[in-house]
């Protein structure tokens, strides 16, 4: 009896600690999203004033306008390409992180890995402007090495966006891959090799399948970040790249069509949600198969 009262008192203490955070998130994370969804069903008049009536018009416009379908396709394409490049580059980086014996060297790799994460996105993006500009570092080096005759125009293109995206998001792919790689028992690889499989075969039959969950969770983060950022494409890609986050930014800040910006936002959120759910589903199926 006394015991249950004590337990109840402890529990109410925990709830007391949790409630302020819940109220905060309810007010400034859940509520704004509900308001945004409601807004996306509002009608606007010819002066873009929001009317109190409801409509599917914004969504019909998104999904029947060729330009917006192109934007959706290229957003998914760019995010997917960024994800694939990140995963491929993350693999050797994670390998170095896991296989380095010396703790000092490992810490050094860690610092190289997380320092981009700790530097503001405007700074990293600014760095890419300095590097990729017509009179920038990369062109200067290539010209000096006589690899090119004319400076390449790299800035203000989707190429620049993808390069900057990859650098910014790569650590998010390396960390989960390194974690899952570090969890593999060395015995498994030794067993595979002692059974006659070469290193390459062992990699494809043992290491790769076991690190797939890490790759997938890295892919989910990279994909959602790449599909939703607007600062980087705005600064290195120019304002005209066909990307959903840029379109949302323009509709809200330049056109002032808030209901349409809201409908585009909900669309982006749904697309990202679907891809992440898909990745989660594949990951679950794969883990179930591994443990069979």
């Amino acid at each position: 009896m006394a015991r249950t009262t004590a337990a109840r008192r402890t529990n109410s203490f925990y709830w007391l600690l949790l409630t302020p955070a819940l109220l905060f998130l309810l007010a400034f994370l859940v509520a704004p999203f509900i308001m945004l969804i409601v807004l996306s069903f509002r009608e606007v008049d010819s002066l873009l004033n929001v009317l109190p009536t409801y409509t599917f018009g914004q969504y019909i416009q998104v999904f029947t306008t060729g330009a917006y379908m192109t934007i959706i396709r290229s957003t998914l394409g760019v995010a997917l390409l960024t994800t694939v490049i990140c995963i491929v580059l993350a693999y050797p980086a994670a390998y170095l992180l896991v296989r380095t014996e010396k703790p000092g060297v490992r810490t050094f790799f860690y610092i190289l890995l997380i320092s981009p994460l700790l530097t503001s996105v405007v700074i990293r993006t600014f760095a890419w402007i300095v590097i990729l500009a017509q009179n920038g570092l990369l062109n200067a080096v290539l010209l000096k090495l006589h690899l090119i005759d004319q400076p390449l125009s790299l800035l203000w293109s989707m190429k620049a966006v993808i390069i900057a995206y990859v650098q910014v998001m790569l650590p998010f792919a390396v960390l989960p891959i390194a974690t899952s790689m570090g969890d593999i028992q060395p015995k498994l690889r030794q067993a595979s090799m002692s059974l006659g499989a070469g290193r390459i075969r062992t990699f494809f039959r043992v290491t790769l399948p076991l690190t797939l969950p890490g790759m997938l969770s890295g892919a989910a983060i990279v994909f959602s970040l790449a599909a939703g950022s607007y600062i980087t494409p705005l600064l290195v890609g120019g304002r005209l790249q066909p990307l959903l986050p840029l379109a949302i930014y323009q509709q809200a800040v330049q056109v002032f069509n808030m209901p349409f910006a809201a409908a585009l936002s909900v669309t982006l959120l749904l697309l990202v949600g679907i891809v992440i759910a898909l990745i989660g589903w594949i990951s679950k199926r794969w883990e179930a198969r591994l443990h069979d």
Partner: protein, 273 residues
């Protein structure tokens, strides 16, 4: 000859493969760090535009940071925000992460996902949603709007790092304290907080770094009177750029280095990520 040759051939093949992987890995790390190096080194160039490598050494652009009133006022806003946002977020996040780690109820995982969701939600969408809400509430163009926006972004980092510390905390230590007569609150302050301190420190560092560098939300909810440093950098490089941006970047890189040192000294880098 065949019998003797095979193992050594295989060994050579392995070392070639390993060398290739190492070379690829080192190239990847170089790619990761090169933008920061470029920014850092060209901040010391005396020319009107960022020059790399700088032909001579100058600190004139650092000087301009403190003489130009726009940079100074942006630094003031960013600093003020840190002073408000960091303690609020750390207290809110620590309490929530600890309570969530101890409570068992249905829907616990859903709440945990909700708490971490700002990490995954497209920043532009979060920015628009908060812009719209603040406009309706009359919070737009206020410092309060910026504070709330920064807290939403920094909150999940605190929750994540503190949760790791909480999951490694033995509840018996708290029971012992309470059986010796300390109340729930006293136990929390005297026993629990010191034990999860590494997580709280890492969370604080992350919160500071996130809030100091945040631009995606701030761009939507800040007003001309309340411009943070990253927003000012954004406006600046959107139009033109000179090495004063590099100089301010060096300040940011300094904060990042400090953050790394603090995390390595307190919790160890491998544990916080």
């Amino acid at each position: 000859m065949n019998k003797a040759g095979r193992p050594s051939q295989r060994k050579r093949k392995i070392s070639v493969l390993t060398t290739l992987i190492w070379a690829a890995g080192i190239l990847v790390y170089l790619f990761l760090i090169s933008p920061i190096l470029v920014i850092f080194l060209s901040a010391f160039s005396p020319t009107e535009y960022p020059q790399f490598p700088p032909t001579s050494f100058s600190v004139r652009w650092f000087h301009s940071l403190f003489t130009n009133s726009d940079w100074a006022s942006a630094l003031k806003v960013s600093g003020l925000l840190l002073l408000i946002v960091t303690p609020l977020t750390v207290i809110l996040g620590t309490a929530a992460a600890y309570a969530l780690g101890r409570l068992k109820f249905r829907g616990r995982e859903a709440i945990q996902s909700l708490m971490l969701s700002p990490l995954m939600i497209p920043q532009v969408v979060l920015g628009i949603a908060l812009l719209y809400e603040f406009t309706s509430l009359g919070l737009i163009n206020s410092l309060a709007g910026l504070v709330i926006g920064h807290m939403v972004v920094a909150f999940p980092y605190v929750v994540r790092t503190v949760s790791v510390s909480v999951s490694g905390l033995d509840p018996k230590l708290e029971s012992a304290s309470m059986s010796l007569g300390a109340g729930r609150l006293k136990t929390f302050v005297r026993i629990t907080i010191p034990l999860i301190k590494p997580g709280i420190i890492a969370g604080t560092v992350f919160s500071i770094v996130e809030s100091f560098g945040e631009v995606s939300i701030s761009l939507f909810v800040s007003s001309p009177g309340n411009i943070t440093v990253p927003v000012r950098i954004f406006n600046y490089i959107d139009q033109t750029f000179d090495p004063s941006v590099n100089a301010i970047s060096v300040l940011f890189i300094g904060v990042a280095v400090l953050a790394i040192v603090i995390m390595e000294k307190t919790v160890g880098l491998t544990k916080v990520m």
